[in-house]
């Protein structure tokens, strides 16, 4: 067991000497602790602002990239394929029916 202070202990003890706690320490600490819990009036302002910014950005993104047009094109291409497949299927069925007659 160590009975005498060594260099390491003196460094630790001396490190406390220059610390001065400001008068506003508690106030700042409480502000930091309650930073996430803003008052209701301020918290309620955040959501409309985020919503407006996000809506604006999305609208601009949609108009720049013309994403709606691409989706419509994809949809129409898909429906074209479906109609063609249906027509082919009907013609095959009719052909088989004609063979049967």
């Amino acid at each position: 067991m160590q009975n005498k202070r060594d260099d390491f202990d003196t460094i630790i003890i001396n490190s406390f000497k220059d610390i001065t706690v400001s008068d506003e320490y508690n106030k700042k600490l409480m502000q930091k602790l309650h930073k996430k819990q803003l008052p209701d009036s301020k918290r309620n302002n955040l959501i409309p602002s985020y919503a407006l910014i996000a809506a604006g950005l999305l609208s601009i993104f949609l108009s720049i990239t013309s994403l709606q047009v691409h989706i419509t094109n994809f949809e129409s291409r898909f429906f074209d394929k479906a109609v063609i497949t249906e027509i082919n299927q009907h013609s095959i069925i009719n052909f088989i029916k004609q063979l049967g007659e």
Partner: protein
């Protein structure tokens, strides 16, 4: 109110109003859902259909973020009242104990003024739209307004609200 599943909160938040209903705010949820569903047909009916997607996107994002805010409040143990969605700040509190309050009793003067102003603006826009409907320049302006001008105004208003918060 019990804590709700986070994944289901996300899924329900994607449908405007359903997230509120999932958290027990039935009145608010139904109001939002009706507003979201009716805003398109009403605006198309009066000839302002080009504005519907912008308003719908705004409502969607607002309800999406607000659902998570409500969820967090409930998780923290706060009481979240099932308040009105549109006239939340314009409802008379002194008549709340009346058994069957009329609309005139329920909504205060400021609420009626805002509603009246909104309808007047909507009417003027609708008339202007009908008057200039054949003009190519008007169509050009309308297209650019709905594509770029109004979204930029949204962003500016959003940023202004954010900065006002920090004061």
């Amino acid at each position: 109110m019990n804590n709700r599943n986070s994944f289901l909160t996300f899924v329900t938040a994607c449908i405007p109003g359903v997230g509120y209903m999932y958290h027990g705010l039935i009145k608010k949820g139904v109001q939002v859902l009706f507003l979201y569903m009716l805003i398109g047909p009403i605006l198309y009916f009066i000839g302002l259909g080009f504005l519907s997607h912008l308003i719908k996107i705004c409502i969607w994002f607002y309800t999406f973020f607000d659902t998570f805010a409500v969820s967090n409040k409930i998780k923290r143990g706060e009481y979240v009242p099932d308040s009105e969605f549109i006239f939340k700040n314009y409802v008379n509190t002194e008549n709340s104990y009346s058994v069957t309050p009329t609309w005139n009793e329920r909504i205060n003067r400021q609420g009626w003024v805002i509603l009246g102003s909104f309808l007047i603006i909507l009417g003027i826009l609708s008339i202007l739209n009908q008057v200039f409907i054949d003009s190519d320049i008007y169509k050009y302006i309308r297209s650019y307004a709905s594509q770029y001008f109004i979204p930029i105004i949204f962003i500016v208003i959003g940023v202004l609200i954010l900065f006002r918060k920090k004061d």
